[in-house]
Structure formats: C-alpha cells, structure tokens
C-alpha cells in the first residue's frame, strides 16, 4: 500500500487555494475465515481505499471524501471541500484551531511476532475446523461457530503545513461461540462475545487463549443450561475483565468524551452527565480508581503514535485516585472547551471525518490477586462476559447482563447461575469500587464496533482492565 504516500504528493499539486488543507488516505485489506455449524464459510476478502480532503477557508471547514485518488479525482474533492468550507464560513459552531509548530514527519509499520500470512489460509481454516468440532461436542449444542478476521490497515496524513504521517498496523478479531439448547431454553457461551480484539498478528491468538478455549466454552454452555437463575438482591459484585471492559466503555469512556459534553452528540449518541466544571474537582470513583488514555499499550486495539488529525498521542490520566482530571477530546474540542484533552480525534475510514473517540481507555491495575478479591466477599457474585448493555443518553442509569456468573459466599466461589444482570448509576457505581486485581489479572480487550457520530461511525477501541469488585449492587436474573 505504498501508493498512499504517492497520493499525498499528488494532492499537494492540485490542492485548492485555502487557509489550510489536510489529506487523509486510508486503505485496508480484510480477510474473514470461519466455520459455522460445521460448514466452512466461503472466504471473504474486503479491500477499502479512499481519501478525505479537509479544507479551512475564511473560518469555515469543509470535507470531501472520494475513492477516486487520481489527480483529477483529488482536485475535484479539493474543490468540493472548499465549497463546503465557504458554505459553512461564518456559521461554524466555534473558531477553528490554528495549526502551529514544526512540520511532523512520522513513518512506521507495526511488525507482529507472527504475521497473519505466516500460516497458510488452508492451515488456518483447518485449525478453525478443529475448534468448531470441539465446540460441537454434544447434541444439545444447537449453534456453534469459530472464526478469524484480520485487517491490514494503513493511513497517511499530509497537510499544507508540511506534515507527513504514515502508520500501518494489523488487527485480529477472533470468535468462538457455542449455544446449548433444550426446548425453549438456550444458553450461549463465547470467547469474550465481541470484546476480543488485538493489534498484531497470529501471536495475539495465543495470548488470548483462542486455540484452547473451545472445550471450556462448550462445557460452560451446557453447564448454564442446567443452572438455576441468578438471584435477586443487593450484593457485592465482582466483574471479570470481559465485563469490566464494557462497564468502562459505557459509564466512563462515553461520558468523558468532550464532544458529548459540548453537545455534538445530543441528537444521536447522547449527552453526558459530566460537565466542564467537574474536571479537577469531581470524585468519579473511589480512591482505587485510576483511568488512563494510553495509546502505547502493545497489542491493544487503538494503539497509535498520532491521531487522525495529526496530534501526537501519549498516555494521560483521566481519573487519578478517583478524581476526575481530563476529558477525552481532540484538538478542535479542546479549542472549543478551552480545556486540556488527549489525541483522540479519529475516523473509522476514509469516508468519515474525525471526531472524539475513546481509543485505548484503561483501568490501571490494583493490588489484589483474583483470589484476594474473592476473599473479600461475604455475599456476592462474580459475573463474566458481557451479553447485554444499555445506558441512558446522559450515560448515567445503566443495566448490563452477562453470559455466566458464580455465587460467592464467605470468600469462596460457589454455584454457577444463568441470566445474570445488574443495574446502577454511573455517578455512584464507581465510588463503590472496593477492589481491583493486580497486574497479573489485567486483560487487554476492547470492541471493534463502538458506534457514534453523524454520519455514523463504528470504530475500534481498546480497554485493558483487571477484575473489579463493587459493593452494594442491585443484581437480578431472568424470567
């Protein structure tokens, strides 16, 4: 995909007269392999390639995206972007940020330990067939699948200020699922159900336990089918990392997005209970809670050196010892809010403009072993693997469901229960955090489909977290 660098030079020669322009070229090739209910899925490849031109002119901003990256196609996109900048001039929600500083030159390609292509397509499919067979080990398994997706992605940014930034990375998304059924009751276990995503290559699969998880997943689906329903009541709640990731995502990540706080998302993804005056003084959680924006975690889904508007990315504390410090906002949001932020202006593809996104949003490790967390619980429950998520448009009243839970009595884990759910309010939930796992318990997870923006964008985000223990949570089951 070295043609992306050439395209930047091609546009520079035909760029329209304006105050500032930027070009973002994004290209990707994805491959999906899978086995569904014992039958090999047809191989599906997907190539995506295009460019977005953004123009500042007379205080207005316009963009134009095109898959025609010829000189004439880029010139037309430049003219279209300029026309939109002229139409929006004098009508923008806020003054545009002014590019300053020396030109940036950055050119990197991430190199995984084991490349996707290190194993042939046929051998990868053969291994998926083996996984699928292990998932279907009883007649009561009515639905099962094993799959792998890989994307080789490259982006180039160039600006009228002389910036040139090229980044290339691989993204791997594995999936395992088994549904056990008996009459009108079906229970499903998965490998992290949509919460498992990594940068890198096939080496990430070893770290995620992908090649060994199938028998356990099938056994646990059967176990759930015979399990009693989750009890109802207020109790201690221990969340595994594959539930913590979505709890962080929905009730910390989204409310801290600066564009939400500024109102951009009120018509679609929602607003936030967090207001600008809360930064620096608001106690978001207990003193155990430390939340970071960390684009430097190896293998995490949204690690990068620069965001999609060219801002250098570095680790920042958003919440330190429970105190709210910093929002998730890129350059334009920071200008509007007159607040500090992070490098998180991101676009899901060449045909969407950059907006404030989560990227890697992590809960830093605590001090307890997993057993140490369990030992703190007199009456409680441990829940794992998110299956249901819902939260109000201010990101306050939430309800989550998990695939599997186990009761905890007097510091010991007991019976498995099905259909576990809990609900609460973000503003108080994190203050009841009373334990976090140590570094050995942290899992690097995330989601490939965080939805937001108008036009809509589904983007990859990362969440690394240990298990977390919360006091006095309303827990209930199905029915």
């Amino acid at each position: 995909m070295s043609q992306t660098a050439d395209i930047a030079a091609r546009f520079a020669a035909v760029a329209p007269p304006c105050d500032f322009w930027s070009l973002r070229v994004m290209g990707s090739r994805s491959e999906h392999l899978g086995v569904t209910r014992g039958v090999i899925d047809p191989v599906a490849l997907s190539d995506d390639f295009g460019a977005m031109v953004t123009v500042h002119a007379g205080g207005g901003l316009g963009y134009a995206a095109t898959s025609d990256v010829s000189a004439s196609g880029l010139a037309r996109a430049g003219r279209d972007a300029l026309a939109w900048a002229n139409r929006s001039a004098g009508r923008m929600v806020a003054p545009l940020p002014v590019r300053s500083g020396a030109p940036v030159h950055h050119d990197t390609e991430d190199t995984p330990r084991v490349a996707w292509t290190a194993v042939s397509r046929g051998d990868k499919i053969a291994r998926l067939v083996q996984q699928a067979a292990q998932l279907k080990h009883r007649d009561t398994i009515a639905d099962w699948s094993a799959e792998l997706s890989f994307t080789d992605e490259e982006s180039v940014q160039a600006t009228s200020a002389g910036d040139f930034i090229r980044q290339r990375r691989g993204i791997v998304i594995p999936g395992l699922s088994a549904s056990a059924s008996d009459g009108s009751e079906t229970q499903t276990r998965t490998l992290g159900r949509g919460g498992v995503i990594r940068q890198g290559g096939l080496d990430a699969l070893e770290d995620l336990g992908f090649w060994t998880a199938a028998p356990r997943i099938a056994d646990e689906a059967l176990e759930l089918l015979a399990a009693p329903d989750c009890p109802t009541g207020a109790m201690d709640l221990l969340l595994a990392p594959d539930q913590m990731y979505i709890q962080i995502h929905e009730s910390i990540g989204h409310p801290l997005e600066l564009d939400r706080i500024l109102g951009d998302e009120r018509n679609y993804a929602g607003t936030s209970f967090v207001t600008l005056d809360m930064f620096g003084s608001y106690q978001y959680g207990s003193s155990l809670l430390n939340v970071t924006f960390d684009p430097g975690v190896a293998g995490e889904a949204a690690s990068y050196a620069f965001d999609d508007e060219g801002m250098p990315a570095e680790k920042q504390y958003l919440i330190r010892n429970g105190l709210l410090e910093r929002p998730l906002g890129g350059a334009f949001s920071q200008t509007r809010a007159k607040a500090s932020g992070v490098a998180n202006a991101r676009a899901c593809s060449w045909n969407r403009p950059a907006i404030d996104r989560m990227a890697n949003l992590n809960v830093e490790a605590g001090a307890s072993s997993f057993d140490g967390l369990v030992a703190q619980v007199e009456n409680g429950i441990v829940m794992e693997t998110n299956v249901s998520w819902s939260i109000d448009d201010s990101r306050n009243k939430f309800q989550f469901g998990c695939e599997r839970a186990r009761l905890i009595k007097n510091g010991l884990i007991g019976a498995v229960v099905k259909n576990p759910n809990y609900r609460g309010i973000s503003a108080t939930f994190w203050r009841n955090l009373k334990g976090l796992g140590n570094a050995a318990t942290v899992q690097v997870l995330g989601t490939p489909t965080c939805g937001k923006g108008e036009p809509n964008q589904a983007i990859r985000v990362g969440h690394a977290s240990p298990p977390g223990l919360f006091a006095d949570v309303q827990v209930f089951g199905g029915g």
Partner: protein, 440 residues
Amino acid sequence: MQEHFLAVADALQAQLKGDEGYLARFSGETSDFVRFNRSAVRQAGAVEQRYLTLELFRGKRHASQTLTLSGDGESDQAAARHAVTTLRDILADAAEDPHFLINTAPQSTTRTLPSAVARPEEGVDAVLAAGAGHDMVGFYAAGPMHHGFANSFGQRNWDTVQAFNVDLSFYLRADKAVKMTHAGTAWDAKAFAAKADGAKGRLAALARPAQTITPGGYRVYLAPAAVEEVMSMLSWGGFGLAGHRTATTPLIKMVEQGVTLNASVTLSENNRDGVAPGFQNEGFIKPDRVTLIEAGRYMDTLASPRSAAEFGAVQNGADAHESPMSLDLAPGTLPAADILETLGTGIYIGNLWYLNYSDRNACRLTGMTRFATFWVENGEIAAPLNVMRFDDTVYRLLGDNLVALTAERDLLLSTDTYEARSTRSMRMPGAIIDDFKMTL
C-alpha cells in the same frame, strides 16, 4: 453509476473460464452530510463512494472480494479482472459449500424513484433557519443512493433512490428536548418548516418542572418512534430462519411453546411499500410481503438462500442477516386524536433508547425513555418526565397488556449511516400498554 456498473459486469463476464460464474453487487452513494450543534454548523462535507462485491463460483465452491471502485471505467474494470484472478486462486483450494444457493433464472429489474432533493445551500439554509433562536442539534443527509446486481446468467438489477433525511433535536435544557425527522425524495421547504415549527411548539410542555416517578408498573403510550425501537430489537435475530432453527431467536417461546401475542399484532416484511431494493445479494427477487406474525401467532421467518439450503426451507428474498428491511406493524383502531384520553393517567413516551435483552429466552427487553416523554393526568399533559429505565417482556407489552394500536401509522425511514446510508424503513402505529414495568 449504472452504466459504470454494467461495464464492470461485462468485463467480469469476459474474464470467466470454464464452468466459472459470478455474482456482482454494487452499492454507491453521493452524499451531502452536514452536522449541526447549537444551531450552527459542526461539520459539513460530501462523500462519494462506490463498492463492488464480486463472488466467483465454480460449482459449489465460491469466495468473495469487496473492492472500492474509483469511478474510472478502465481502472475499475482492471481491478475487477484482478479480483477474479485472486478469487480463482482461492477456489483452487476451497471446499464445496453445501449451502450455496443462488438465483439461476435471470430476473432483471430497474427502479429509479422520481426525486427532487434540495441544493446543498437550500437544505442547510432551511435547517439553520429552523434552529435560529433555539438550541438545535442534528444532521442533514441528502443525495442519490445506488444498488446493483449482476450475474453470469445475464441478470441485471438496478435501484436508484435520491433521498434526503433531516434528523434534528430542539433542546430546552439539559436532556429535555423534542426530536423530529423529516425524510423523503422530494424536498418541500414549507413542509419542513411546518414540521420544525411543530417540534418547537412542543418545547413549551418541556418548560414545566420535570417529574420523577418511582419504579413500578405504569400505563404508557409508545409513539411510533418508540414502537420502532422495540421492533428494532426484535429484528435482531427475532425473525430469521437460522435463529429459529438454532433456537437462538428471542421469539423461541412462540416457536417452541406456541406462545402468542395480542390478536391485534400482525407483523410483516412489506417489501412492496419499503424503500429498499427489490432484489437480494444472491439475485432473488423479494416477494411483495412476508407475514411474520399474524393476529398474534407466529407465521413465518425471513429465509435467506443460505439458510434455506441449510435447513431445507424455501428462500423468501432475505439477505444473510435475515433482518427485516421494511417491517410493517398493522394499524389498530385508536384514532390519534384519542390517544391522551385513552391513556388517561400515565406516561406519553415519544422515544425509547438503547434497548437490549435482559433475558433473550423470555424476550425481555430493557431500555430508556428519551427526548419528549411526559407524565399525563386525566388525558392532559402534566409535566416532562425525567428519564426512566424499563425492563419488561415483549409477551407482556404486545400480549395481554396491549390496550390499543393507533389507526394512523408513521413511515420511519432509517437515519442510519454506518458505512453507507441505510434503505431500511418501518411503518409503525403507536401503542397504549398497561403495566409497563419501570425499574430505575
């Protein structure tokens, strides 16, 4: 874009060898996208995109590749020819797929809906004028959407819809707002202004002090946009053949135990009156209507060709996701003018938000109220309501607790723009429901 696609299809045909065949799907759009906040422009621009998905087959062996097309005939045909070579190499090692089913009897169609979309300046000016003096936030999308299909049997299908969709919220304070959508194929500035004036007129009711209710069962009215949210959740695996045959459907109790909904509930995939293309990805033509639930009883599922082959059923024009594109809930008999009086004392819910399953086997949903939601006393709007969470089963909501469906229905054109502008739509009445369980 049609001529361009047909030329690519011809290039594909010429590239085939021996007993190879192909399917080609095209989707493209030229869209103006303008985002607003605080009655000003937040982001404005244009997107032109063209995607081709080529599926090469040889007997029961097949594989696919999606490409971004540039719009240049020569380079796009070259890219398509290269994709054939790539896929040919994959087929050399591919296993036979017992579930591969495609249409082999050509049925070519063309549909271009008449349209008159506003010039970009006109649409933006109208939205900003509507927002003047108010806190308006939202989105304007307009332009043509194209979908095409071709195969090596000579079938050619094309569909062009030139449409606009204005999706706005007028905010009074904090989370108190009125939402409006205005969509269609013929821009009418007066009709838009009237609709916006209507939305702004409802802000007065939001100015009253907000009321907070305690958890419990309430009589509610769900406006059509709120019913749409419930139906969107049911559409997530509820109506597909694969979900039913693998017992993963949330309607499993209707299938396995014969549980029924209220006799006034008749749901169908109404392809004839929707805006989605009339052909699907394997080249089958969609029937005018597939009845999914009739008078409260489970009737049929949406069956994709692949599922039909796997489960020994007959395909009925569904794509692989087996989710409705044009869902139609039959109207009831309650006149819109009688909604508040029939509701009596309870909650008028304009929109629901962020629904999900709290127990899929029980078809139990949770979600939030959002935007204009009011406490109603004795048939009169009394106060805006602070947001509440509900958690209840569809068997109760659309079963014994369903009091009435309205006689009037709204055609709700999807505002989704993930990857591309959606052609999904729903035709929904409002619903009055007893003992709707609020939990938080």
